[in-house]
Amino acid sequence: MESSLEASFSSSGAVSGASVFLPPARSRIFKIIVIGDSNVGKTCLTYRFCAGRFPDRTEATIGVDFRERAVEIDGERIKIQLWDTAGQERFRKSMVQHYYRNVHAVVFVYDMTNMASFHSLPSWIEECKQHLLASDIPRILVGNKCDLRSALQVPTDLAQKFADTHSMPLFETSAKNPNDNDHVEAIFMTLAHKLKSHKPLMLSQPPDNGIILKPEPKPAMTCWC
């Protein structure tokens, strides 16, 4: 949390600072996009994860907001870059292809107190399918606003069934509830863990092993591969 960084548009727009902005070469960056209807709490969810608290007031996201947080997983520093996308069609229509480019994971969000937001999930999934080239991108489903118990409209079993048919894990959480502070974090950390262990033989792995080996005096090696 301490390392979280609210990367608003203005700060990221500073192109001149790009070199400063670039993460240290070794850390991996995971681009995760958060998708869902307007007013389901995407901004609050990402803000909660990156800033550790519920935002006082939010307005409709225009285009996209970037939020970043550096975490350490198994001793490796990893930067989670959350793309908080606009839910309103007019604020996102020209941006969609940017959202899905080289994305590492997709988070679908719906509002548990709003059946309509749940019912529009298939269209979001469809959009995701259309724009993603790889089919094995990790996707998770998050039901937000579970603290509003009296107003819940989307029953858990229905959501679970839906998540199962689309083979996604389902999380029900609340960005607002101060009691389960860890839950939102846990969701994203789960995702980060999954991403980290994903495709372990990819070339994108950090080449630190070779660097460790370098000072060793003996050049003789057995190639195990």
Binding site: F9, I29, V64, Q81, N102, S204, A220, M221, T222, C223
Partner: protein
């Protein structure tokens, strides 16, 4: 008649008014009757008097008639009566006059009554009219007042209207201005939003670009590292290294961990990425073994990625750290009565099996530098084409000409199981790494998978061509064919997953212990190394003088995959260095005929070759 004053009590006023009017009328009209009344009174008096006179006169005619003529009336009318001075006529005249007077008097009285009645009615109507008039007047006054009030109100309203109209006009003008401003602002907002979205899109694109650059830089770094590492990667056996010599002779049989996960995490901690080349010199043997196990675990995980419970596997896997190419003959035997077709080392490296065309399988102990006969396995129905030890070293599987594969237990002379089902000679029979499973290849153009526990064929794969050899990995079965192709079969997929063509009939296939490389030998006198990760031919080995002697000439990797070994038609053994791709050397020895099969023990220290002239040679 002035109307009652607006102010004051109207009722009292009109009353007073009426009274006044009445009085006035009384005054004016009294005079008319005032004279009438005394006249009438006088008339009455006169009438009375006359009446009295007439009374007195009545008796007179009786007695003194002329006397009564002495009354004033008579005196008055004396002159007349002078003319007709008869009392009777006078009396008649008088009576007539009286009568007339009386009549007049009555008439007048009647008139008086009538008039007074008329007066009364008139007065009443007057009164009524007056009251009506007064009421009407009051009402008129009221209405007038109301009208005045209304008029005032209208005026006020009109004034208000005018003011409002002015205000309205002003507001309308204002509204127009505001509307224009709003339109402008809206346009501006739209414009701003569009620009914002555009900038956001640019920012997003830039982010993506940055991520890509990041990724690319990392990959570039990675490939650089890989290249560096690749340059440094040298085989241990080639490098003069004192620890290597120690290790060289070592073969380690590892107990597989009961729970691979814990080991994996442990190994994972020690070795973040064990799949990259690691410096053997810095490894203790156990670590080295960890790496291998991790490697195998990884392969297993990959293999099971689709799911399903892992099948039971053999508990021990021999590991060779470094192999040394053979240099000299240690022992020569005439092992069989005829051609020796197959030779195979057991897992422990001390047990050797040879199979010949004489339908026998001989087991040999490797003792020092000699081969000692251990046992003969009998019962094969035909010429042996292939022998294989299971990974635990307790079973021997042989393929025979009589369309079957047979299974022996080490220590038992007679065959335990016969796997029949092929319709032509079986050319290869191999154990799978999972327990109780085997694969056979045959010239009947099929490959069969067997469940050894129940001795039945669990799957038949139609392989389209004569199968000369077959090998199997965790989930892959690879068959070499007479139609110059190597075919790959996934045990989970019904059809062929891949075909790699070579330039001659495939005579032999050999899988390296890490299951990542395949060595093929084909009748174009070429050995090929196929990288199974990328499924392409990585190297091809040829040598002057090397010729493939038969359709079942076998070539093998050294257990550490540093070398490839094959026997030639003229009895020489050829050894290639897999890392450099160069011929390491050729060995000529006791073989005079074509070498059919070679085997390299899993510790890497011994090599055995078998030829068509019954000879089996142990090399070191």
């Amino acid at each position: 008649m002035a109307g009652p004053s607006a102010a004051g009590l109207p009722v009292a006023r009109w009353k007073r008014h009426i009274v006044r009017q009445l009085r006035q009328r009384d005054r004016t009209q009294k005079t008319l009757f005032v004279e009438l009344v005394p006249a009438y009174n006088r008339l009455l008096e006169k009438a009375e008097l006359l009446a009295r006179i007439s009374e007195k006169l009545q008796p007179e005619p009786n007695d003194v008639t002329p006397a009564t003529l002495q009354c004033p009336w008579e005196e008055e009318s004396g002159p007349d009566s002078d003319q007709v001075p008869s009392p009777t006529t006078l009396r008649v005249k008088w009576q007539e006059k009286e009568e007339g007077l009386r009549r007049v008097c009555g008439e007048m009285a009647y008139q008086v009554v009538e008039k007074s009645a008329a007066l009364g009615t008139l007065e009443a109507t007057l009164e009524e009219r007056q009251s009506r008039l007064a009421a009407l007047e009051a009402r008129a006054a009221e209405l007038q007042e109301a009208r005045a009030r209304q008029a005032r109100q209208v005026d006020a309203q009109r004034a208000v209207n005018v003011a409002q109209r002015a205000a309205y006009e002003a507001m309308r003008a204002h509204a127009r201005l505001r509307e224009a401003a709003l339109r402008r602002l809206e346009e501006e907002a739209r414009d701003l939003l569009e620009r914002l979205v555009q900038r956001k899109a640019r920012a997003a694109a830039e982010r993506n670009l940055r991520l890509e650059r990041h990724e690319k830089a990392k990959q570039a770094r990675m490939s650089l590292e890989l290249k560096k590492a690749a340059k440094r990667t040298v085989s241990i056996s080639e490098s003069p290294n004192p620890i290597g010599d120690g290790i060289r002779e070592e073969a380690e049989t590892l107990a597989r961990p009961a729970e691979p996960l814990s080991l994996k995490s442990e190994a994972g901690e020690k070795w973040k990425r064990p799949f990259r080349s690691a410096s053997a010199t810095s490894l203790t043997l156990s670590r080295c073994v960890d790496v291998v196990k991790e490697l195998l675990d990884f392969k297993k995980r990959r293999g099971h990625s689709i799911g399903g419970a892992p099948e039971p596997r053999y508990q021990s896997i021999p590991v060779c750290v470094a192999a040394q190419p053979p240099t000299q003959v240690q022992d020569v035997l005439d092992a069989h009565l005829s051609e020796v077709n197959a030779v195979c080392f057991g897992a422990s490296s001390s047990l050797l099996a040879t199979g010949g065309a004489d339908r026998l399988i001989h087991l040999w102990n490797v003792v020092g530098d000699r081969l000692e006969a251990n046992q003969t396995l009998e019962g094969a129905g035909g010429s042996i084409t292939s022998v294989d030890f299971d990974p635990s070293g307790s079973q021997v599987l042989a393929a025979t000409y009589n369309q079957a594969a047979q299974l022996w237990k080490v220590g038992e002379v007679q065959s335990k199981e016969t796997l029949s089902g092929h319709t032509d000679k079986v050319t290869a029979a191999k154990f799978k790494l999972t327990r109780h499973q085997a694969v056979t290849g045959s010239r009947d153009r099929t490959v069969k998978e067997w469940d050894l526990g129940r001795a039945y064929c669990s799957r038949t794969i139609n392989v389209l061509s004569y199968c000369n050899d077959v090998v199997c990995g965790d989930h892959v079965i690879i068959s070499g064919h007479s139609d110059q192709k190597i075919r790959f079969w996934d045990s989970r997929v019904p059809c062929c997953t891949q075909i790699i063509p070579v330039q001659g009939r495939v005579t032999s296939l050999n899988l390296s212990q890490d299951q990542l490389h395949l060595l093929s030998c084909s009748r174009d006198d070429t050995l090929k190394v196929i990288d199974l990760r990328v499924s392409n031919i990585r190297q091809a080995f040829r040598a002057d003088g090397f010729r493939c002697g038969s359709d079942w000439t076998k070539a093998v990797f050294s257990p550490d995959r540093s070398y490839a070994l094959a026997g030639s038609w003229d009895g020489a053994l050829y050894i290639w260095d897999v890392d450099t791709g160069k011929l390491e050397g050729s060995l000529r020895g006791p073989h005079c005929t074509a070498v059919n099969a070679v085997a390299w023990c899993s510790s890497g220290s011994h090599v055995v070759s078998a030829d068509q002239a019954r000879k089996v040679v142990l090399w070191h």
